[in-house]
Symmetry: C2
Subunit: 120 residues, 2 copies
DNA sequence: TACAACCTTAGACCCTACTCTAATGTTGCA
DNA sequence: TGCAACATTAGAGTAGGGTCTAAGGTTGTA
């Protein structure tokens, strides 16, 4: 598929997709058999990657962290041990984020009780 | 206390503290009785606010969201209902973040199992 | 063949959240 | 009194993550 279709499928603008491509997160291919244009073609793996990018961004991962994750996910260059190490690292950082969220939640809930009780 | 002490107490640089002050998150006061300088003085409430800023930032709140939170927390201009509304909103957004984190965690854990099992 | 609707690149611009510099003034201690 | 260690302001610079524009080329349908 071309960039416009990819954009519609993922809800990510063509501009941003090109930005991600320059950043090295995804890769389109030019078809050798087509000589008349320089259009990039994207497959379903790219759709998956963009969905992962969206999800990972929403929980606060940076593009550089996401790049590591995608490499562990899709790269053939990494061996099993290396991939598992990257994934484990991300799992730990997610657990830390959850822990911090719960702490702040407790803090806010506590303050809410104070506001309600003391009318302050 | 002056800015340097505040910085040491909170681990936030004086530069960043001034940035937060310009942004409207905190406020120091100049003492009328001191005419020779224009130094700002900060009290313990500012220390508390900076700690909250640090915590809220760590879980991905923007400075603009943190401003709302601080207003609900410390402002005398807001009534109880308004404060509770802001706090509830933040509690909901924390729950959403936790939910998303758990989803991505599941995704990564799932993939980890695949990598381990299939040696891919 | 005209025209809308695509595609490409390079590069400028924007926002957030700092981070630093320069120029200048104040304080406290030897 | 000299001087290090503070304080102030305005404003410039930076990194991350987009977002947009201009200037061009291509495709498909009427």
């Amino acid at each position: 598929m071309l960039i416009n279709e990819l954009s519609k499928k993922t809800g990510i603008t063509a501009h941003t997709i090109r930005y991600y491509e320059r950043y090295g997160l995804i890769k389109g291919v030019r078809k050798n058999e087509i000589k008349s244009n320089k259009y990039y073609h994207y497959d379903d793996e790219v759709v998956e990657k963009l969905q992962l990018i969206r999800d990972a961004k929403s929980i606060g991962f940076t593009l550089s962290e996401i790049k590591q994750l995608l490499d562990a996910w899709f790269s053939k260059k990494f061996n099993v041990a290396k991939k598992v190490a990257v994934l484990d690292e991300k799992l730990i950082s997610i657990d830390e984020k959850i822990k911090q969220l719960k702490e702040v939640k407790k803090l806010i809930a506590q303050f809410k009780r104070e506001v309600e009780e003391n009318d302050c």
